[in-house]
């Protein structure tokens, strides 16, 4: 999952970036509204964390422009303005959630996770594909009734992304865009390598093959073997 942070405070932006990265997200961050708008319009993010008090172009204007141009990426507004009027204005402008500074990092991670889940059309944090169970809130996976399987953050992000689109093919380009941020040096076969590693981990845990390759398309997560 790839997140965009638009926050002018260097300390806060870097902390959020690190926290989200350690939680397994690919993260891009910018310090002003103008660049935030450019990033949001040119990259398919899974969620945007947007501060309101920004130089260049304020957060509400960024949000308004995104919605006017039909971009439906979930937006978590981050602000020091805590009045009811400010919250209502932010939500009416198109924000999906509102978090007032100061906040707990854990709460921000939980809200971002919930936003992504809702955007993918899932009301529950549990995704089941065959015998595989993915708890997106606890970020754990199990095979059958077995114990939780340890996955590297990148592997987990790949599995969750495929799980949200279970049964549908996902292109390599899409996976690359959602799993790697601007800082990552992505090799041409990075996605294939990550899929290979994930398959091996799942197989070692006793999970049947559920990640299938679609030639010249990409990958599909399904409990049924392709025809």
């Amino acid at each position: 999952m790839r997140i965009l942070i638009v926050e002018d405070s260097n300390v806060l932006r870097e902390s959020l970036e690190q926290g989200l990265r350690e939680a397994g997200y690919a993260v891009d961050s910018v310090a002003d509204g103008r660049r935030g708008l450019i990033h949001a319009r040119t990259t398919d993010y899974d969620a945007i964390v947007l501060d309101l008090g920004l130089p260049e172009l304020d957060g509400l204007s960024v949000l308004r422009t995104l919605r006017e141009r039909g971009l439906l990426t979930p937006v978590l507004v981050l602000t020091a303005r805590d009045s009811v009027e400010d919250r209502v204005l932010g939500l009416r402008t198109g924000a999906d959630d509102y978090l007032v500074k100061p906040f707990a990092l854990a709460e921000l991670l939980a809200r971002v996770g919930a936003l992504i889940r809702r955007a993918k059309g899932s009301a529950t944090p549990i995704i089941r594909v065959g015998t595989l169970t993915i708890d997106t809130s606890a970020r754990t996976i199990r095979v059958g009734e077995g114990r939780a399987i340890e996955l590297a953050p990148r592997e987990y992000a790949l599995l969750e992304y495929l799980a949200h689109r279970a049964g549908r093919p996902v292109t390599r380009h899409e996976l690359e865009e959602h799993l790697y941020d601007d800082r990552a040096r992505v090799m041409s076969n990075a996605v294939d390598s990550a899929v290979c590693a994930l398959r091996a981990t799942l197989e070692n845990a006793g999970c049947p093959a559920i990640i299938h390759t679609r030639r010249k398309v990409g990958y599909v997560l399904s409990s049924e073997a392709p025809a």
Binding site: S15, L57, T65, A80, P102
Partner: protein, 477 residues
Amino acid sequence: MSIGARLTRSLLLAMIPLVLAAGVGLYVFVHAALQARVDDALFTRAAALSALVKFEAGAIELDFTAETSAMSRHDTGSGHAEYYELWTLEKTGAKTVLERSASLGGEDLALPPDHGIDSVPANAWNGPLAGGHEGRLAARRFTPAADPEAEERSGPAIRPAAASTPEVLLIVAQSRRDLDRTLGVLGAALAGAGAVLIVGMTIAVRGALSRGLSPIADLVDQVEAIGPTDLTARIGLAGTPLELAPLALRTNAMLDRLASAFAREKRLGATAAHELRTPIAEIRAVSELALSRERTPGEYRRSLSTVLSTSVRMGDAADAILRLARVQSGRERPVLEPVDAVESLLPAWERWISPLESRHIRVLASIPAGTLVRADRAMLGVVFDNLCANAAEHTPEGGEVSADRSDANHPEITLIITNTISGPRGDHPIPDGTGQLHAGLGLLLARSMLEACDGSLATREENGQFVATIRIGPVAS
């Protein structure tokens, strides 16, 4: 109790006694006038009868034939009957009835209880008449005149004459019935007219007060329409009476000041929230992140260093907010004196702007030496410090910062600090409600301090530059 009710009560309490006094006075006057007319008639009658009493041949002779024809009957209740009674007064003090009118029916007319023959009252008085009804009486004591022609006549005297002319007491009377009836009608008419007048006055006073107080009611309605949270409503001045216009004007001015104060407070609140909540969020995020897993000593050191520097910044922000609150509330008052603008700018310029040259930022200062302004020296230093810090923070590498003086078409001294900004903002203004750009705490503080020094600070963004224009009064020549 409403003002209308109070005024109505006060006016009626003042006017009703006047009406009652006027009615009573009129009644007393008419009563006295009518009674005086009756009394005059009685005394005239007494004088006429007296003239008919003669002393001749040692006896008193009466010739009331013509005069008493009208008195010769009893009063039958018409009230028009008249009465008289005539006594001779002997030197011995005895009195003898000589004649009385037939209307008396043989009864006497009495003098007032506190008067006797020796003290006949000069004025008329009220007393009982025959038949039991009240009458008006008048008395006259006199000595009948001698009749010189009587000696030549041989007719007999009516009464044997005494050795000398005796005195005579004549009492005439008239029923009060007509007078009392007239006075009764007058009293009733006055009472009725008074009641009607009081009722009419009450209605008229209430109506007049209602019309007169309607502008106050309108004013109250307009004031009531101003909600506790809505400071945009104002009192309309059209049609407001002259007496209330100052009140409406002052109220509107007060609302303007309140709205301005609320807007300033809101701006300060928003700025303070941003300036304080953001560093708290930074400290919390850095701390939580550091504690979320085992870190290297270097990572912990960096986290602590960030927490420390953020705490210092938060302390500076708290100081600035407190100082801003003191300036805006008037507790920190400026000491206005001649200040050299260049000398005041120099410390801030050297602290914030001069180091920018190492970042390939062009620095230009062209304020003439000896530019004297009238300001508080310390406050002007804070203003320049904040503007320079703002310029240093937002000027990108390769940009430019300049300070100029431009007084064209303006009576005040105008200093302009300009810095390049990183790029166009697009079509969307910053919706902070102030109409100002870069409206951080520093600029808010600078603006408040300049206003306290009777100056102003305007900021704008044009052609990729942020322009801060300071206007401040010159030193009087």
